[in-house]
Symmetry: C2
Subunit: 265 residues, 2 copies
Amino acid sequence: MANDEPAVTLRSPTLSERISDALVRRIVRGEIQPGDAMPSEEELATQFDVSRPVVREAVKELTVIGLVESRQGRSTRVAPERDWNDFDPRLIAARIDTGAFDTVLLELLELRRVIESGAAGLAAGRRTSPELAQMEAEIGAMEEMLASVDSFEADDIDHFTDADIRFHGLVLDATRNHLLIRLIELIGPLLRVGRRMSLERRPDGPAESLHGHQAILEAIRSGDAAAARQSMREHLSWTANLRLDELDDDDRGAPLASRRESTPG
Amino acid sequence: MANDEPAVTLRSPTLSERISDALVRRIVRGEIQPGDAMPSEEELATQFDVSRPVVREAVKELTVIGLVESRQGRSTRVAPERDWNDFDPRLIAARIDTGAFDTVLLELLELRRVIESGAAGLAAGRRTSPELAQMEAEIGAMEEMLASVDSFEADDIDHFTDADIRFHGLVLDATRNHLLIRLIELIGPLLRVGRRMSLERRPDGPAESLHGHQAILEAIRSGDAAAARQSMREHLSWTANLRLDELDDDDRGAPLASRRESTPG
DNA sequence: ACGGCCCTCGTGTCAGACAAGTTGACGAAG
DNA sequence: CTTCGTCAACTTGTCTGACACGAGGGCCGT
């Protein structure tokens, strides 16, 4: 989590990988909808000008991600969304760069809020001194940036965001739970988008963000798990302010009474 | 989540599926370790007495799960655990029935606690009347069982566990966040094991469990998100009592000071 | 109108072959 | 003896052609 270097060596994708990517995109952007039949392997082979085994491997990949079901004798169909492997990196990536994540973005932000506030609580009980020092360093960096520059340019926002991300990574690392870490890693790319947006749109964004981080650090330092969870909750509800109205806001007397008595059955 | 029927029709697994299952097991139980080279495709084809394309599709599946890396020219290697797709159903399944989940079980329980307590908070703000009624029904069933039987037999524990699971499913459904639902679905099989254990080992297990559920329901009914999170937290810390000593217990003054100042770097 | 048979289509599997990249060993040069 | 370049063997990636088997739809007879 703390080390975000790019992959070791990026080998050029194989034919079947390219094709499966293309197919994933077709499905994610709804060109082929759940229940619809996929083109036959032979047809796909013609479309992409490759042999059938290559197509088969590509389709196999889709099967593993849960996007399609193929049975002998019957044409391969797109699976119901319920069966999709939402946490597969390929699917997430496809959703991001087809822009088809609007529908799941809110759920992702909500998931992040749940995970990270829980993580903050765990970190409060487990963090070591060196980890605390690292967290302080990141916050120190934020403070410096805030003091040294008058108005935030694009570059500054980038650097600030970097420190932000590193801080959150440190908190996750301190939980000693790599499942939590991995989960956030998976949805990370999306988070970065949202983070930038909230920083750009508010003139005093960085200052408020810094305040939130300071509160979190303080709670974690003192080992107060409940306070850590609470401050992370608040910080993340602020981060998601761009569409916060649609999120739950259970900490401020949720105005959800209207929804509450509806939806029978 | 609420409907747990088995899949529509279980078609017999294909050859490549059987082979990939076998390979996943070999890797998960450590017979081939990260960094080691896999047998060549031809060798695997001989071992399993199938053709090379079948082997290739099986290996392709492993690649998607992130268990192996294959590049042209070089033999396929088992990937570092860091790259494994921890949330892939096949990997989880393999970890369960090879018994190799000890290392991740604690992390899973912790993850569940984080997710479900967050979910309870969300549910408190979004639950509908019919959903509340359903939750009450499940708790009512538990109460009946507790009242009608003197000592819990294996069968009773099963039924009690069923109601337990349905209740938790209802809470998740009420969040309207299918990412949370899916996450719990994925780790569900493991949870069932743990749940049974904690119920069997404590003589007054069911009674205490019932109490916990009642508290959760009450908080959700009154729309008190903080109380819902708290009661779910406590309930799940009780559920995990079999190894709770190893889990965090941030709600009771964590005795983790010893760990706190160690682990430099 | 209904039910059973057959034919067609599509996936599952096999065999053999060539292309392309990697690795390691061997040999030549310094 | 060390070092570097070349080559050969191995492994994965891709292609071709073919057959088996299950599913679905249309046709035909009742």
